[in-house]
Symmetry: D2
Subunit: 137 residues, 4 copies
C-alpha cells in the first residue's frame, strides 16, 4: 500500500483543509482522521455540526477504501448513513474508517467518530455505514 | 410558523457560515438552502465534497422539521442517509428539505440536493432520508 | 419494456409467494406490489412486521430498477434503508418502487409502502431509499 | 435481564415462525437469531431474499435493544439500513444484533448476518445499522 497517494489525495481536498482535518494513521483497510472542534464548524448549540461529523467519518471511510484500490484509482461515496449517538461537545473529533468488504465494483465501509475532551477522555459520537465506488481518475 | 426563529437558529450555525450557505425559502414543513461551490468546500476532483452536499441537505431537512415544532424547540439529527447520484460540478448547490412525517418524538424527513450551472440548468446530485429529534434548547 | 420478464422473475421468488405478494402495476421505472396483512407475517402487536414491510418495499424498488435494465439482466439490492412512519395496522400493504437515477453500474431507487384499511383508506407506513446493482443472470 | 420476556415476545411474532427463525443466544445488549435457507424464503437465484436477511438482522437488533429496556417495554424499529455484502448461498442465516448506544428514547443498534455452509464454514452476508424506539406495550 502506498501511503503517499492517500496523503496526496487528501491534500487536494479543499473541504478537509477548511475543516482543519489531518490524517492520523493509514493502514491497509483502515484510516484515521481528526479535526478540531471550532466555532466555524459547529452548530447552534456549540457542538460539532452533523455536517462536520459526517464529512470526517465519510472521508475516513473513503480513504480506508482507497487503501484497498490499485494505484491510479480514486473512490467516490455512493451512499453513506450516519447515526449520531451523542452531542460532540469535546475539543477534537477522531474518525476511524474501516473496510468491511472490499470489491472491484463496490467497497462497503464503516466509520466511528469519537470526540476527545481536553483531559484526553473519549466518547463515541457517531457511527457510519456506506458504500464507496472506485473511479479511474 | 415563525420564520424568524429559523433564521436566528441558522445564523448561529458556524458551519453554515463557513460553507457560505443561505436560506432561500421557508414554508411549513419545507425549507430551501443553498451554498456556492468553492475550492474551500470541494474534494480532490473539484466537485462538491460529499460532506458539503450532506451538510446542506441535512440542514435543509433539519430546518424543515423545525418548522413543525413549537416555539422554543430545537431539532437534532438522529440519523441521516445520503445517496449521491451524480458529481456536483456546477456553481451552486440547492437543498430542499421536506417533512415526510411530523411527530413529537421523531420527525422523518427527506431532502433533495441539486447543483446549478452558470446557465441556470439544474441537476439532482443527492437525495437524503433521515430522522430528526426535538430537543428543548 | 418487457413486462413478462418482471413477472417471470417475480414468480421465481419463494419469499414473495410466502408473503402472498402480487404485482399490481409495472411501468418504466415504477412497479407496484401488494401483500395482505396476515398473522403469518406480523409482529407481536399484530401489525405488519418490519421485515414484511421491508421485503415488499425493497422488491418494488428492485423491480422498478429492473424495468430500466436490458433483457437478460437481473438486479440485486446493494443497500437499502427504511424509515417506518406508522404502525401497519390495515389489511393490505401496497409498495410503490421508483427509480430515482438509472445507471449501468448503480440504480438508485426509492419506495413508499402504504397500508390499506378495509374501507379503502390508505396511510403511508414506510419510506425506503437504496441502491440496486445489475447482475448478468 | 429477563430472558423469558424476549422469548415470549419472539414466540408471538408470526413472521419469525414463518421464516423458521429461532433464538440462539441472549445476553445483555446482544441477541443471536438464526433461520434456515429454504425455497420459501429465497429470491429468484436461490439465495436468501434480501427481505429474509433484513428481517432476521432487524429482529436480532430489535431484541438486543429490548434486553436493555425495563420490564413491560417493547421496541419498534424506527429505521434500519442494510448493506448486502455477498450472496447468501449457504444453508442457514445467523444474525447477531448488538446495542451500540442504549437510551430511553432511542436505542442505536447494529447487526451482522452470516450465512453458514453445510461444512460449518461461515461468511458475512450483510451488516445493518439502525434505531429502535421503546414503546410501552
Amino acid at each position: 500500500m502506498n501511503q503517499q497517494r492517500i496523503r496526496d489525495s487528501f491534500a487536494r481536498q479543499g473541504l478537509m483543509k477548511t475543516l482543519g482535518a489531518t490524517i492520523d494513521a493509514i493502514a491497509e483497510g483502515r484510516v484515521i482522521l481528526s479535526a478540531p472542534l471550532q466555532p466555524e464548524t459547529c452548530q447552534q448549540h456549540g457542538f460539532a455540526h452533523a455536517g462536520l461529523t459526517f464529512a470526517l467519518g465519510d472521508s475516513a471511510a473513503g480513504y480506508s477504501a482507497l487503501t484497498t484500490m490499485p494505484e491510479g484509482a480514486e473512490v467516490l461515496t455512493a451512499e453513506m448513513k450516519i447515526n449520531l449517538l451523542a452531542p460532540a461537545d469535546g475539543i477534537r473529533l477522531i474518525a476511524t474508517g474501516e473496510v468491511m468488504k472490499p470489491g472491484r465494483r463496490l467497497v462497503v465501509t464503516r466509520a466511528t467518530v469519537d470526540t476527545e475532551y481536553d483531559d484526553g477522555r473519549r466518547k463515541t459520537v457517531a457511527i457510519l455505514q456506506g458504500t464507496m465506488v472506485p473511479v479511474t481518475g
